[in-house]
Symmetry: C3
Subunit: 396 residues, 3 copies
């Protein structure tokens, strides 16, 4: 799409409520708001590809707060901040006192005197990550309103226990481009399926985020997993409701083949059972580490029974014309490469390597678009101004 068409599209969308606001869950936001983010992401990419700077900040900090190791999301956030002119500062909690209650409020304000955005990844414990992000957002909003902070630092959810919006929106932007536009998605079948991995306890935010987002586009969304690997009930309800509203379907099955059959898109990926993760969180809270070990053993035992849940060449043949778009948030557990038996055959993974990398390449732009719409009141005018200004990203 041409840049002018993108701007035209943006003009007709209602995005006001993104301004000066936080981004937690995709299903909190209207379709117009999501579309605005996709469109701004495309615009920013277009400008950068044409060597036009989109720096809107002359100075300012982007705080990254990762409660888990991360490479891709960390670099995506750093790239997005740098693109817009913010310098990233990592809050390393091991070097600080962020803890509970009053102290989170305090630290949130103490690091935010010159922070425009705070990116948080906190996906480890059920019921914790989302709450933590909301708290931080609330505390710095309060700090802004109390005159402590000169600007309101907005929060971007870089993964919580419920949703992973920067991942799933990058996934969706990839799908939009692969299928030639958002208007072509109606009735397309996407299979979000569990897959076997020898490791234990992978987060649920991706499958939950995918069913929570894809059901809004009139797609036929199938969630498949072995019995016992159910995801969070609230998100299932959200997905059901949304699929009804958009004229799509939402199906849950315990049969991987059924999910793959005729699918336009497959997204096979390991995750831990929600109920078990909830139990683990409770045991953790009670300090019962022996029982956590026992639980882990049981889960690994159970896990092994489903080693046939793999995205093999054979399974791929079940998909539409045998060539559904294969997706993954990466890194994948590849059979014979990163583990003995994993989520996907090496030959399938290799065939889709370039599209997989492209899928990932949208994430910095999704994050940048979220920040852009949080900070810029009239994004159409601003994008226009940036084009007129025509400041080169690299003088070459």
């Amino acid at each position: 799409m041409e840049i002018n068409k993108m701007l035209e599209k943006l003009k007709n969308l209602k995005y006001e409520n993104l301004y000066q606001n936080d981004f937690f869950l995709t299903w909190d936001r209207t379709m117009d708001e999501l579309q605005s983010i996709f469109t701004v992401a495309d615009c920013l990419r277009h400008l950068r590809e044409n060597n036009i700077s989109v720096k809107i900040f002359d100075s300012g900090l982007g705080i990254s707060l990762f409660r888990d190791n991360s490479t891709r999301t960390r670099f995506s956030f750093a790239s997005a901040c740098n693109l817009l002119g913010l310098e990233v500062q990592d809050l390393d909690e091991k070097k600080s006192q962020v803890a509970h209650g009053e102290t989170v409020k305090e630290t949130a304000n103490m690091i935010s005197f010159m922070a425009d955005v705070i990116g948080i990844r906190d996906d480890m414990y059920i019921g914790k990550g989302h709450t933590y992000q909301k708290n931080v957002a609330e505390y710095v909003k309060e700090g802004y309103e109390d005159g402590v902070l000169e600007q309101r630092p907005t929060v971007v959810n870089l993964q919580c226990d419920i949703d992973h919006p920067t991942q799933t929106m990058a996934d969706m932007l990839h799908i939009i481009h692969e299928f030639g536009g958002v208007e072509n998605l109606k009735g397309k079948k996407i299979a979000m399926t569990w897959a076997y991995s020898p490791s234990y306890g992978k987060p649920l935010s991706v499958p939950q985020g995918i069913i929570g987002l894809m059901t809004r586009f009139g797609m036929d969304v199938t969630l498949a997993h072995p019995k016992g690997y159910e995801v969070m009930g609230e998100v299932v309800e959200v997905a059901k409701k949304q699929s009804q509203e958009t004229g799509g379907t939402f199906t849950i099955t315990n049969d991987m083949d059924e999910a793959f059959k005729g699918a336009d898109i497959v997204y096979p990926k390991s995750w831990a059972p929600f109920a078990a993760m909830e139990k683990r969180t409770n045991l953790y809270g009670e300090g019962k580490f022996d029982e956590i070990d026992k639980l882990e053993q049981e889960l690994l035992e159970e896990n092994k029974k489903h080693i046939d849940w793999a995205c093999t060449e054979e399974k791929m043949k079940l998909t539409k014309n045998g060539r559904a778009l294969y997706m993954h948030c990466l890194p994948a557990d590849i059979t014979g490469v990163s583990c003995e038996t994993g989520e996907v055959d090496a030959s399938v993974f290799d065939r889709y390597r370039i599209p997989l990398y492209k899928e990932a390449s949208y994430k910095p732009y999704i994050i940048a678009a979220m920040i852009f719409l949080q900070k810029v009141k009239d994004p159409v005018k601003m994008l226009d101004d940036l084009m007129s200004r025509n400041q080169l990203r690299l003088r070459k």
Copy 2:
């Protein structure tokens, strides 16, 4: 105060000796120099609040060298550098060879080829931190004079064993704003008092820095602590001398009530006895770790005897009209929140939460003002230029 009045004030101050110089201790500097820093800090804040960029560096590094964990000071330094256009690079000594003698000189030069400022925090051992900072400053000055470095990296003391100037000057700027101007401080009573905390060995730089700074403004400064919790003798001498020169008073008492009585400002905070810290440093140097453990036990025993030294609601009633300004460098040990019994009642702390956060919010500007005056020969003209340039911090 209006920006023009601030500039007018600055014009009448002598700040030349801050230019191309280091900042170690507040009592090394003239009142005019301190006032210049306060005024420039206010100007920089004013410009930023009006979305005007104060970037004076197009490129350049700000080196941060922290020999202790830190959140607030780290982020304050990073914010100040970013505000002025410097990129922060942390020197992680665990990844380097900074040690003794020749090697400090070498490393100081090796990291400084493009460094404009070096922020150092080294507060752990008595007699070490200040000396270390002076050494680093001297070594890079030498490097500059020898033609090794193209610019002279100036040092900013981000806390040493003697003083914590960026903290106490932020505290003072808060007081100036709360009391409506520096001219209103004469005769105001500030109680810098020890308070009980279950933890051991908190640095002395804050109480020392407070008595070393506040006695210069004609204030009635009372230092209160249990017997045995004396601070560094040299700083007490400085405080005495200064209070005489400025027509204020400086009193030491072992009675917390006496200190609180009629106080306009209270600053209750735990610290370790200077003599014990000196002993610990010596034992550490001699490698007598058993004796260090023993010393720590003794100190904790002694500490427990003073559990009544707390900033309670009752104590607050003793202050001027029962509503002195409560101050703290944060984080505070709050009774029933961060510990069972601590420095301050939760209700007192809560009532002053917003002013406490504001107090902290001055630190990035104090640091930025110190750097600004170290680097800019004619700050009045530069501030004028920055206003005329009117480059937006955020295009919105």
Copy 3:
């Protein structure tokens, strides 16, 4: 040299092949290419010294990937990136999944969506570092060609198992300046000699890099070491061939005095025997850690026999007029300072401290020049433009 003369010189050099290309080994590059890097380094330094900004990037990331602790090279890379306008992001492999095979390709692409340059230091295992750097470079080039990456991130070798080009080229630029121009180097004798250090296993990249670079300038290059301390055979062949082509000489001796005799430049430095390092790498691959310990013991025993290989005052007297230029990549093992007996007498080291620091000061500019020539198609015009633009680095 004046800036106009530098630009004139640059006009007559062929540097096209540096553009959009990686930098691995100096002997991969033509003399014109090396001269271009020296000249651009001098130009960038000249401009910075005159407070003229050489920022060519408005945004963009410089990725640093260090597989070993580092202070100097880390800060040199950070300084170079900052000078040109790139923000450094460290890839901490402990927080990521960079490993073998497919995963290196994946991570290389995942961190590079907005990366313009990747600086890699990987010098620990023989046969690994160079290969790893080539792989990363190849993978991101592929990513660029496949449309995954919008720009091609070029690799700069910040030290590998074979060469240490940013060090040796900084060394050479120091020599050029000390001897008044590259045209004065013909026939000058440089002694690259082994020296005793109590530590074990120092990398070979410096001696190899030195003989691989200095033999291209018609110099008389002598490599001296005890028997058994041979360097990589391939690099010796390169040095031999180059010395013949340029009318210089290349001599290997086991006699330190012979090397020092009449030398214009001496570079005494410890390194580990290549054969032993190769053996260690193999043992490491086979997981034979006991044998590695045994090997280390043997090497330390052998090492002690050569304690007389030291750059003493006496040895210095053997050099040309007793005052050869003493060089070292730093940090040096100084007798009586950083160890009991080491590579160099304290009095020799002290006498050369300032030149040694200056030697090191060229590294940021060498790195910046490499990046500049990788990214800028017409460097003469660009340098001209930067001068005309006359943007101040520091408004003072």
